[in-house]
C-alpha cells in the first residue's frame, strides 16, 4: 500500500465530513428492500462489452436464488435478485448502483464485479451504510473494516496469492532470479505488490518485470524479453488467453523455469487444454476451489451437488468455465448469511451476519479451506493450497496455507 495511504486517509476523513453534511439522506427506513414476502438484492456485472465473460456469474447466482425461492426462500421471503449491466465502466457502475439503491430500494448489494467498478461506489455505499457484500474481485482493499465497514470481499486476494508464491520461491530457491509478467491493471498489479511485500529490498535485484495490456494480441515479446534476463523463476499474473499463450511459448522456447500461474487462469478447459496439457507439466499455482475437470473430484459429494444444480438450472452452460464454481461458492456463502439473519433483514443485521461467519465448508472449495469472517477481519477466504500440474490434472501438495502467515 505505498501510494494509497494518503488517499485512504483522505477518503476516510471525507466520509466523516460528508456524512455530517448530508442532511437529506432518505430517512432511515427500518428495513429497506424487505417486505413481508420479498427481499430485494442488487448487483452489477458486465453484461455487455469486452468483460462480458464474467456475466455467467450473475446468471449462476440468479439460478441459485431461483432454486432457493423454489425451496421456500428465506424466512418466508422470496429473493428478488436484480442485476444491471455496467459494461465494466466505473461511471456506469455508480449510475446503476444508485438506481438499485435509490430507485429499486434494494436491501443490500451483492457480488458486484470488478475492482475499478467497485472502487467507484466504495464511498457511496459506505456513506449510506449499505451492505456491499462479497465482491467479485480479488483486490485486497475490500478487507478494510476500519475505514470501509460496509464493504467486504470474498475470494483470497491476488496479493496474498503472490505473497505465497514469493515465500515459496525463497524457501526453494533462495537466490532465484525471478521474472514477473503481469497485466497492466489493478488485477495484474496486485501480483507485483505481493512479490514486493515479501522481497522488500531484494526486489530490485531479484526481479525483472514485463507487462501486457488486455488488448495485446500476443505476449511473445514479453516472454522473449523475460527469458533474455536469464531468470529461472517465472510468475504470471495474466488472464486465461495469455496464460495459455505463455505456457505454450515458454515450453516451445525450451525455457524451463519454475513457473507460477495466477489461479485466475488455471482452468483445465480454458487454459491447460488449449495450451497443450503436456506443455504445462510442473506449473505451480494455488487455489481454493476444486477444479471441475479434475478427475479427483469426479465422485466428490460437493462437486456432485454443483453438477446436479448445473444440470437442473443451467443445462446449456459451459461446464468447463470455472466462473460457475466461483459463483456457486459465493452464492452458497450469501445464502448462508441470509439464513443466519433470522427474521431481521435490516442492513445492520445483514452486515453483522456477513462479518461474523463461523468457519464453514463450502461444497466447491478444497477440503480444509473454510469460509469465515470476523468483525475485525474481512478476509472471507484466507486459505489456499499449492498445486502442481502433472500433465492431466492439478495435484495439491504441502499444507493448506493461511494467507499472511505462510
Amino acid at each position: 500500500m505505498t501510494t494509497t495511504t494518503r488517499r485512504t486517509l483522505l477518503a476516510g476523513a471525507t466520509i466523516g465530513a460528508a456524512g455530517l453534511a448530508m442532511p437529506n439522506i432518505a430517512p432511515a427506513q427500518e428495513t429497506p428492500g424487505v417486505t413481508a414476502n420479498e427481499i430485494r438484492i442488487g448487483s452489477t456485472n458486465a453484461l455487455s462489452g469486452p468483460a462480458s465473460s464474467y456475466s455467467v456469474i450473475s446468471r449462476c447466482l440468479e439460478a441459485m436464488f431461483q432454486r432457493l425461492n423454489e425451496q421456500g426462500g428465506v424466512g418466508g421471503r422470496r429473493i428478488r435478485f436484480i442485476v444491471y449491466d455496467d459494461g465494466y465502466q466505473p461511471p456506469r457502475t455508480l449510475e446503476q448502483t444508485r438506481r438499485l439503491v435509490e430507485q429499486d430500494r434494494v436491501a443490500f448489494l451483492f457480488n458486484q464485479l470488478g475492482t475499478p467498478t467497485n472502487s467507484a461506489i466504495h464511498r457511496y455505499v459506505n456513506q449510506r451504510r449499505i451492505p456491499h457484500l462479497f465482491l467479485a474481485t480479488g483486490a485486497d482493499k475490500w478487507a478494510n473494516p476500519k475505514e470501509y465497514p460496509w464493504t467486504i470481499g470474498w475470494q483470497p486476494s491476488y496479493r496474498v496469492e503472490a505473497q505465497i508464491y514469493a515465500k515459496y520461491i525463497l524457501e526453494q530457491k533462495p537466490d532465484a532470479r525471478i521474472a514477473l509478467l503481469y497485466q497492466n491493471d489493478d488485477f495484474g498489479k496486485d501480483y507485483l505488490h505481493g512479490v514486493q511485500d515479501v522481497l522488500g529490498q531484494r526486489f530490485s535485484s531479484m526481479v525483472r518485470t514485463a507487462t501486457n495490456e488486455v488488448t495485446d494480441p500476443t505476449i511473445d515479446s514479453q516472454i522473449v524479453q523475460l527469458q533474455a534476463t536469464g531468470a529461472d523463476v517465472l510468475i504470471c499474473g495474466v488472464v486465461p488467453r495469455f496464460a495459455a499463450q505463455a505456457i505454450r511459448r515458454v515450453f516451445d522456447m525450451g525455457w524451463r523455469p519454475m513457473f507460477f500461474m495466477t489461479n485466475v487462469s488455471i482452468s483445465v478447459g480454458a487454459v491447460m487444454q488449449p495450451a497443450g496439457p503436456e506443455r504445462g507439466v510442473g506449473l505451480i499455482t494455488s487455489d481454493y476451489r476444486k477444479d471441475q475437470s479434475d478427475p479427483a473430484w469426479a465422485d466428490d459429494p460437493g462437486m456432485n451437488e454443483w453438477r446436479e444444480f448445473m444440470r437442473r438450472y443451467l443445462p446449456d452452460a459451459d461446464l468447463t468455465d470455472n466462473n460457475y464454481t466461483y459463483a456457486y461458492g459465493v452464492g452458497t456463502t450469501m445464502i448462508h448469511v441470509l439464513r443466519q439473519c433470522g427474521n431481521d433483514f435490516s442492513r445492520q443485521n445483514v452486515m453483522r451476519q456477513a462479518t461474523s461467519i463461523a468457519p464453514m465448508d463450502i461444497p466447491v472449495l478444497l477440503p480444509g479451506i473454510k469460509v469465515q469472517s470476523q468483525p475485525d477481519n474481512y478476509n472471507v477466504i484466507r486459505q489456499m493450497q499449492l498445486q502442481r500440474w502433472d500433465g492431466r490434472s492439478w495435484v495439491r501438495f504441502g499444507n493448506v496455507i493461511e494467507g499472511a502467515n505462510v
Partner: protein, 339 residues
C-alpha cells in the same frame, strides 16, 4: 459556373438550418421558459433520475465539443475521450493532492485541454479522413495507458484511481449536493453551449464550415485554414475537457478504466445520434448515450449490447442525420420551404 454546376453530387454533410427572425421579447420569453424548464427537474425529480440527467448533460457538453471538430470543422475524431480524461484528471489531481476547490480546477482543466488540443491540431492538419481517425483513436487508446504509467502513478493514483468530492452547495442554499451538482452542471453546460453558439455564428464558425464543404475555395478566398482548424481543435478539446472535469466531480472518482476508448466511441455515437453539426443535437446525443443503454437493458438482459447496437442502427435508419435532422425536417414541413 454556379447554380446548376453547384448542385451537390454527393450529399452535403449538413443542410443549413432554417432561419426565421424572432422578435426580441419572444426570444427573451423563450430563454426564460428554457431556463425554467431546465431548472424544474431539481424540484420534480428524485435524486437518482436527477443524477442520470446530470450525467446526460455532462455527456451532452462532451458531444458538443466533439461536434465542433468533427461536425463543424469536418475533421473526424475518434479520440475525444482523451480530452474528457485529461479534463477529469486535471480536476481530480488538483482536488485530491492540493485540496483545490472544484471551481478553481475548472479553468486549469480547460486550459490544459486547450493546450493539448492545440498541439494535436497540428498533426491533424496533415491528416485526413481515416488517417486522422486512426491518430485520434490512438490517442484514446494511449491515454489510459499513460495514466497508469509508473512515472505518473504518484499523481494519478495508477490503476486505483483518485477519489474526490462534489462541490458543496453554498450554505444559504437549501440544496443537497446532488441537486447542487445538477445546478453546477447546468450552468457550466449553458456557458459551454453559449460559447459554442457564438463560435459557430462568428466569422470563424462560418469560415470553418466553408473550409469543410469547399476546402479549395476557402483557401482561395485567403482564409488561414491551418490556424482556423487548430483553433477549432483547441476550443473543441476545451469543451470536452470541461465536461470531463464535471464528470470527475459528479462521479467523485476517476480511474483509467473510466476512460477507455469506449468513451470516445460513446461520444461519437452521441454526436451521430444527435445530429452532426448541430448544437441542439448534441444535447439530444447526451441523453441518447445515457438513457438508451438502459432501454436496451430493459428489453433484453441477456444481451443488452446487441440491443443497444440494434437501436442505434434502427435510429440511424429512421433519422440518418440524427435527431437534429428530424427536427429540421419537421420544421420544414410545418413552415414550408423558405423562399
Amino acid at each position: 459556373m454556379s447554380a446548376s454546376k453547384g448542385i451537390p453530387a454527393s450529399a452535403p454533410m449538413v443542410r443549413a438550418p432554417a432561419q426565421r427572425s424572432i422578435a426580441g421579447w419572444q426570444r427573451a420569453a423563450i430563454v426564460l421558459l428554457g431556463a425554467a424548464a431546465a431548472l424544474a427537474p431539481i424540484w420534480v425529480l428524485d435524486s437518482f433520475p436527477l443524477f442520470q440527467l446530470t450525467m446526460a448533460i455532462i455527456y451532452a457538453v462532451a458531444v458538443l465539443g466533439l461536434n465542433i471538430v468533427t461536425g463543424y470543422s469536418g475533421q473526424i475524431s475518434l479520440g475525444h475521450g482523451a480530452f474528457f480524461a485529461v479534463g477529469a484528471y486535471a480536476t481530480a489531481i488538483l482536488m485530491a493532492h492540493f485540496d483545490w476547490s472544484f471551481w478553481a480546477t475548472l479553468p486549469v482543466a480547460a486550459l490544459v485541454c486547450a493546450a493539448i488540443g492545440f498541439c494535436i491540431g497540428f498533426p491533424a492538419l496533415r491528416l485526413h479522413g481515416l488517417y486522422l481517425a486512426l491518430t485520434t483513436f490512438a490517442l484514446a487508446v494511449a491515454v489510459p495507458q499513460l495514466l497508469k504509467h509508473r512515472a505518473l502513478e504518484g499523481w494519478t493514483g495508477g490503476v486505483q484511481g483518485l477519489f474526490l468530492l462534489k462541490p458543496d452547495p453554498p450554505s444559504w442554499l437549501p440544496l443537497s449536493p446532488d441537486r447542487w451538482m445538477y445546478v453546477v452542471v447546468l450552468v457550466i453546460a449553458a456557458l459551454m453551449y453559449l460559447l459554442a453558439w457564438n463560435l459557430i455564428r462568428s466569422r470563424i464558425g462560418r469560415a470553418l464550415m466553408a473550409t469543410r464543404d469547399h476546402p479549395t475555395a476557402a483557401e482561395a478566398m485567403g482564409m488561414d485554414i491551418a490556424s482556423l482548424k487548430t483553433r477549432a481543435f483547441a476550443v473543441s478539446a476545451t469543451i470536452t475537457g470541461v465536461a470531463g472535469s464535471l464528470s470527475a466531480v459528479a462521479v467523485e472518482y476517476v480511474a483509467p478504466d473510466s476512460f477507455t476508448f469506449f468513451v470516445s466511441i460513446t461520444l461519437f455515437v452521441g454526436m451521430v445520434a444527435g445530429g452532426i453539426a448541430s448544437i441542439l443535437g448534441s444535447l439530444f446525443g447526451g441523453l441518447f448515450v445515457v438513457f438508451v443503454p438502459n432501454i436496451a437493458e430493459a428489453i433484453s438482459r441477456s444481451a443488452p449490447g446487441v440491443i443497444y447496437g440494434v437501436i442505434l442502427i434502427l435510429f440511424l435508419f429512421v433519422m440518418p442525420d440524427g435527431f437534429a435532422g428530424l427536427l429540421r425536417r419537421l420544421w420544414a414541413r410545418a413552415f414550408g420551404p423558405r423562399g
